[in-house]
Amino acid sequence: MRVSFIIGYGVPKFSILLRPHGSCYLCRPMCSSSTSALTTSQKPRTSLFLRPPTHSATLSDLQKWQNWAKNLASSVGSTFVDLDNGPDSTLLRRELKWLVEDVTEDGSISAEQQRNIRLRVSLEELYKLWKQRIEERRPFQYIVGCEHWRDLVLCVEEGVLIPRPETEKLVDLVADVVSDNQGLREGLWADMGTGTGAIAIGIGMILRSYGRIIATDLSPLAVGVATFNVQRHGLQDVIEIRQGSWFEPLKDVEGKLAGIVSNPPYIPSDHISGLQAEVGRHEPKMALDGGVNGMNDLLHLCKGAASMLKPGGFLAFETNGEKQCKHLVEYMETNAGGIFCDVNLVPDFAGVHRFVTAFHK
């Protein structure tokens, strides 16, 4: 009944539920001018695949670039693998194919095409970008400004963590619990430290017109990117982005959350310097470094969840692996005052114990 009422009158649920008096972020039109009006977020760089094809190059010049880039990728061999378990030539050549996909109108370069091929970046820029990929180990996702994650294409840029394939499963875990639990499906969810907005958008696709999600991030850059991604997927009525540290921006919904999900920083500080160059040199430390044993933020979230969740509420956190999972489970079962039940370890697609899920009693 409640759902049909809300849908029937087209009133965003947030304005009723969360901000009855104050200004409503979601009531404003979500365009770039309104987001830049927010002092807390910044306008993201446009991903290559979203740029208009205003450049062009001759087929032979483009093929010349492609051959040069292929050779550069091949010359890497297993150097990066040996150095820091980075990408090998095969992976780099696959990335090159994806780069071509994103910068050309047809998604490929073939001899049957016209002599002049329209491009979304200049040929000069293409040389520069591939050099950055190989020589500076700049992550491919920052080069093209996007990451394909689940069935979504998410914009991403320097300063914002690139969503990982492992994290795709967090969304499946939520899909599972809401499938037979109306209270959770129609409730208010929080994605803590949302980054690109990946998890929130994945869940938003599942909840759609039923539930609502607040996604938070401390970084103004992430808030800008997440806002853009939410809009691009047409979920501005489902997901609200708030800037701030963990639960700080959620004081008004204490004890009201149906679910909390998070992929917080969990890498132990002393591992940061040894990370694969793409990660260690280019991704934001703020999104990776979880303190001495990597558990600082996970424990903070766990403690906060006890008061933020409503009875019967669900939580799912990503961790560094089995050791952290066990630590977290132990904390929940023994130190959390008996607040959590059904505490579970869930493996990722590679079989590594990656997630902890639990319910608030």
Binding site: N85, E168, E318
Partner: protein, 264 residues
Amino acid sequence: MVSVWKSFSVNLFGLLRVGTSNGVARLALPSSHPILSIRVRGEGSSKSTWSQQQLRDNRGSFFHIWCSKYGSISSTDTYVNGGDGDYRGKRYLELTDQELMRQCQLDTFKSSGPGGQHRNKRESAVRLKHLPTGIIAQAAEDRSQHMNRESALARLRTLLALKVRNTVDLDAYSPPKELLQILPAKSTIRGSDCGPQIGPKNPKFILGMQALLDLIFAVGGSISEAAKFLGLSTGALSRLILSDDSLRMVVNELRISKGLKPLK
């Protein structure tokens, strides 16, 4: 070697044991399928309803899995809910994605090390092994894990249609609807209620393709014999077979094994 295939079973119920592995065959794929490789493994059985027959083509590389219409159902086959004791390969194709996925073991390409935030590598390759038949499909060229899983599942469906044979009783043969739907309009047995002809790009094509292969296998690879059952000229049926690369390949493998000329 820093990377290994890591097996992670998503199968929750008992597996259908089909005996020892007899070998691994490689199926060259049509250019329309941008596949790294697909392997098909046939497995033999002595006590279940499954058996397998090797098609002796000049490369000696092909296996087909036969589904008997009359055999009993193994008690572990909880996913078959037909209830008539008629266990047919066709049923696999009628399963929803979720049901089919539950019959599969999901393997992902796992690199050594802790993964998660530590890594930036798009090792999102997915390999699905269909446990009841041992058929394996994989996908690696998509940019997300999720999409690779969908591609692998779509390929698995095609392979099931190509590889799993249902027995056909020629004396009482009447083509199933899904086969009639892929026939050209000029077929004399195709009623107007079948709608427009379904082409190879339509996902429903594989159901008809499986039924067509069942018939062609039953008549020993003779196109003219099969054409008679379908109310078509030999030429018209040949053109239909040649319209899909994987269908043509399987028919030609069979024809070569029977000493017949391949279709061109």
